[in-house]
Each structure stands twice: as structure tokens, then as C-alpha cells.
Symmetry: C2
Subunit: 395 residues, 2 copies
Amino acid sequence: MDPLLQFPLALALIVLAAKASGYLSIRLGQPAVLGELLIGLILGPTVLNMLHWPIFAGGHLGETLRYLAHLGVLFLMFIAGLEVDMESLRRAGRPAIWAGVLGVLFPIAMGLGVSLLFGFTWLEGMLIGLMLAATSVSISAQTMIELGVLRSRVGVALLGAAVVDDILVIMLLAISTALMNEGGGFWHILWVLVRMFLFLALAIWVGARLVPRLPVRVERLPISEGVMALVVVTVLFFAWAAEALGGVAAITGAFLAGLAFARSPLHQHIRDRMHTLAYTWVVPIFFVHIGLEANARSISLSGLGCALALIGTAMLSKVIGCGLGGLASGFSFIEALCLGVGMMSRGEVGLIVASVELESGLITQQIFADVVLVVLATTLVTPILLRLLYRKPAR
Amino acid sequence: MDPLLQFPLALALIVLAAKASGYLSIRLGQPAVLGELLIGLILGPTVLNMLHWPIFAGGHLGETLRYLAHLGVLFLMFIAGLEVDMESLRRAGRPAIWAGVLGVLFPIAMGLGVSLLFGFTWLEGMLIGLMLAATSVSISAQTMIELGVLRSRVGVALLGAAVVDDILVIMLLAISTALMNEGGGFWHILWVLVRMFLFLALAIWVGARLVPRLPVRVERLPISEGVMALVVVTVLFFAWAAEALGGVAAITGAFLAGLAFARSPLHQHIRDRMHTLAYTWVVPIFFVHIGLEANARSISLSGLGCALALIGTAMLSKVIGCGLGGLASGFSFIEALCLGVGMMSRGEVGLIVASVELESGLITQQIFADVVLVVLATTLVTPILLRLLYRKPAR
């Protein structure tokens, strides 16, 4: 078929499948992202292998979808940065910081340990640990809203800890990408780190001084969708500069751009419009594309043990790390447990880190598939456990 | 450079260049689209040849941009359909219909005549005529708003005639694509036409009966950006079906989808959000991409005469056709002249038709470049002439 015809049809199928499965998932009391990931696995090489159907053969559909999925990632990380609320972070205080920090350290340490047991290299072990460290609390937050406990001490700590977690994971990913892209002797590593800190300092300065003033100025000019065009150009440029100039992952740049626009007086408008730009099509494409890239068949029977071990590690390490953080800041045992379980679910960020590592050739297809399973399992279990802990029946 | 890095950088450059040139153009008293087309020509093979810079070599950037530009076209045609206001068309009445019909017939006839003089084939001549028939009154409407005369008899007729023009050109393009994709004997042509009318009837029925009810239903469901995802899926599916099932151009399907959603109670919301989805990045990509595809260097010195002749034909044929239409429905000479001049500017639709024909291999690079020049020239001249006719100084 004419490539210019394949593209609309494939996009229509992917967006329709993603939204329909997300809806079904919510009707079954599960988060939407679960359905979007599962339909991706079904459309991908694991089951239907959609991109190799005769009507989609030839042309550049696969590459274009990869580019669009990457754009979805950048938009998601931008929104994550935009939604960082420094004020509520300050209010959440000690528990958020303890739970956030320990909730990153424990998964990295335990992920590394388990990986070494299963014969992975130290490098792979570190990367697996990093992927296990990324939390996505949107699912827990949604569940706690339904249970009416998001404004409790645990809920506030959860939201704060998630921000700490996001920032730490992105920093650690930045450092590890910077070091791994290069390698070499002491002076070289030093140069890589200096370059990274120079970029981060410059980006934060530009983001704090220049960026927040721009939207109001552009809004006055006769440019159609000028503000959103400015936002998109800035996100893309920060993302490019992060990797090309700073040697860190592109998503770091998109996240920093989000932090910058959060200070603009127009941030409410930007959040609203960016939601449309992201969730209408590029974010669903990202979630489905994960399934199109991952091949669950690449997990052999022996690999299944490893995948299960990683799922267990992912769950336990968050509960222990964040739980200890909660206890250390004066939470009761049950409160600490709720906090730990709430931090357990992985989501976008873990998948984003995994995609970045897969694209860079740092991890294998098998590890990628394992991580997708970890995300699916923790996403599935977290709301159920939370509801049990709060002793309210699921709808 | 890593393809996943090329893409954000190229997108950022293109959107930034488009919006900045559009703004500059408006500051110079010209329509934004003029600047966006010119910057495309500058970035394209005519001057800078951006896609062949070393940083953009390798990867699939060119193909991805073509897909996104095509998406921009579909979104534009959807918006055109969405904005068709049957009510004001009825109010504009006779002058709108006369000016619309004659304003299509004269450019086709005169375009064909001039093309034959310059040695083009009959087929090419018909296609050139069709491209010259497409009006874009957004520029004239904008100028008339500035002059405060859009609500006059001429202004209302102009808006109505533009709708008639749009529908006629899209119908004629549908018929000619349907016939040209196939060819063959009488029975075959009959089958092609039957298939086309079956598709159009089905699409209009679905568009009138099913589509308008869907947005309100989807809005109630817990799907993030559900309404806009529905709209995008429908546009893409209609576009695909138009070409794959009906054998007509994909833009016909997108236009029909626009007509359908115009009847939804949520059409205001859809229009607003679609504006963001389209004008933030995919529409600017489309305009710049025209320049990336067109090579003005492909116009030789001998070809320059032809280009100038086509520009003259484009201007005269609209003024004569639409002017006669105005006279036939009782306008004074000066009113008819204003109407004809207002209909003179070509824009999106002419370019869209030209892109469709170029992609199908029906016209040569040189004809495509000629049409881009026609659009540039008429877009440049129309607001100046209109201001002269209304005897108000340009700002």
C-alpha cells in the first residue's frame, strides 16, 4: 500500500486500540496504562506482529512510529517536570525526602544483587537497578483519590516522595548515560562529569531566568498557537541539547524544560494544552510502541525465573526502602507500609528509562521485556494491595 | 548523529523557523503563510538544502517529515470541513453560488488553455487548471476584517463563494483521482465512478448519522483526551477509507469528517483543540515541507515564462470568473471587482491539491514549483490590491 496511506491507517488503529484498551482496563478497576501496554504486547511481535502485516510492509512506518513514540516520551517527561510542585514538596518535608531517597537506593542495591545472582554483568545490574528505582505514583494517587485518603499524611508524603524519586532517577540516569557513552581514564570521566554539570547549570539558569518570561511575551504576538509552538520548540531543543551538548539523556532536557515552564504565569494554559498535544496521540503511541518493541517470546523458561525474581525484587525493595523512610520520619508501621506499597507501582518513568537504555544498546531485548513485565505486574498489584490495606472493597 | 536526536532538532528548527517567518510576514503586513512558504523554500534544496546537512544525514528524517506534513494536510482539510457553515452559505445565496461556480470553471478552462500553449499534455493541463481553481479566502477575510468590510455584501458573498469553491474543487479532485488511478474502458470508468459515489454516500451517511453523536458519549467515559482521540482516529480512518475504499483523495475523507463533526454539540471544543493539535506543529511542518519538496532551481529561464503566464492566468481567471458571478447576481462593477480580487489568493487548498498530485506522480517537480510560485504571488498581491480597491492605506 502507498506509504502515505499506511501511516493514517496505522495511527488510527494504534490510537483506537490504546484508548479502547485503556477504557476497558479502567472499567475492570485497573489503571489505563495497563491496558495500553497489554494491547501493545498483543499488537507487537509477541502475538499479532502488526508492523509486519502485508498492508504495512514497505515504507518507513516502523521508524516513524519510533520517532513519534520518542516524542511522546519527551512530552511525558515535560509534563512530569511541569507538575513538580516545589511548594507541596516542602510541605511534605522529611518523610518525602527519606522515602524518596531510600526508595531509590534499595531498588538499585537489591536489583544489582539479584542481577548478579542471575549472571548479568555489573553494568547491566546497575542499569536494571536504576530501572527498578523509577516510581510512577499516578496510579497510587488515582487509587487514593478513590479511597479518599490522598490528603492524609501518607498521601502527601507519597506525592512528595515521588518527586524526589523522579529527580534522583533522572539525575542518576544522566550521570550513568554520560559515563557510559564515553568511558576511558580518570581525566576523561572528569571531563564528562564537568560537561554534564556545565550543561545542567546552564539549562537550569536559562530555565529559571529566560524561559518563564517568554510565554507571556509570545502570547501577545499575532502567531497562531504561538505559546504552544514556543513550548514544543523549547522542549525539543532542551532534549536535543541535553544529549548533544551535555551528554546526558534527552529526557533530562525535557524534564528541565518542564520545570522551567512551571514558573511561567501561563503554566495552567500550557499544562492544559500540552495534555491535549500529548495524550491525544503521541503518548498512546509511546505505550503501544513499548509492546511493539518488546517480544515477550524472548523470555525463555529459564528466563521466566529471572523475570519473576525481578518482579519480586521490584516490589519488596520499594516497600522496604520507602517503608523504612516512613518509619525513620515517625510514621506508624501501617502508615509506613501504605507508603511503601503506594510507591511500588512503576510506570512511565521506568519504561522511559528502559527505552533509553534499549535504544542506546546498553540492555538486551530480554532485559527490556523483563522490565515491561515488572511494570505490568507492579501496576496490576499496587491498587489491589492499597485497597486491601485501607480495607475498602474494590469497585 | 543518532536519528532519535536528529528528529527533535529538525522539528525544533522547522517549527521555530515557520513561526518566526510567519510573524515577520505579518509584521510586514503580509499573511503568515507567505513567510512559512518562503522559509521552506530557503531551508529546502533551493537554498540551504537542510535535509542534506551532515547532522541530518542517515536515519529516516525525510520520510518522517513527509508523513507528518501529510498529517498536517489532513488536519487542515478537517478544519476546513469543520468550519463550513451551511447557514451562512444559505444566507450568502446567489452571489456565492455564481461566484463559486464560475470561479472554478474559469481557472480550469484558462489554466488548461495556457498549459496547452506551453506544450503540456491535456492531462497535465486539466490538473494545472484544477490547482488554479482552489481558493483560500482566509487571507482576504483577514484583510477585510482589518478594513472593516467583511460584513458587507461583498464580504458575505466572498465567504460563501469560498465554501462553494472548496466543495467543488474537492469533488472534482475526487473524480479526477478516481479516474486517473485507474483508466481503461467505459465499463471500468463506470465502476470507478460508482465506487466513488458509493463511498461518498456511505461516508456522508455515517458522518450525518453516527459521528455527531459520538463525542458527547465519549466525553462521559474515563478516557484521557477521549474526544480528541476519537476525532483524530475518525479523521485518519475517513482519510484512509477515501483512498483505499473510495479511490478518491485522502483529503476528501478528512474534509467529510470535518463536515460530520461540525454537527456535534461539542464542535466548539473540537475546533479549539484541533487548532492546537494542528497549528502547533503539524501544519507549520506542512507549509515548510512544501518548500523542502519544491526546488525553485528546477524552473529554467524558459520555464520562467511559463511560470509567469500561469501566475497571470491564475489572477485573471479568478477575477473574471468570480467577477462575472458577482455581476450576474446584481453586484455593481466595483463590488464584483472586489469579490473577484478577494477570491484571487490561493493557499492551503491549492498546495494540498498540488502535493496530492505530486505524491501520485501525476505532475512533475517543475509544475509543482510553478504552483508554489502561483500561491506565493497571489498571496502577496491579493491583500495589496484589496487595500487599494477599498482605498485605505496598508498599515
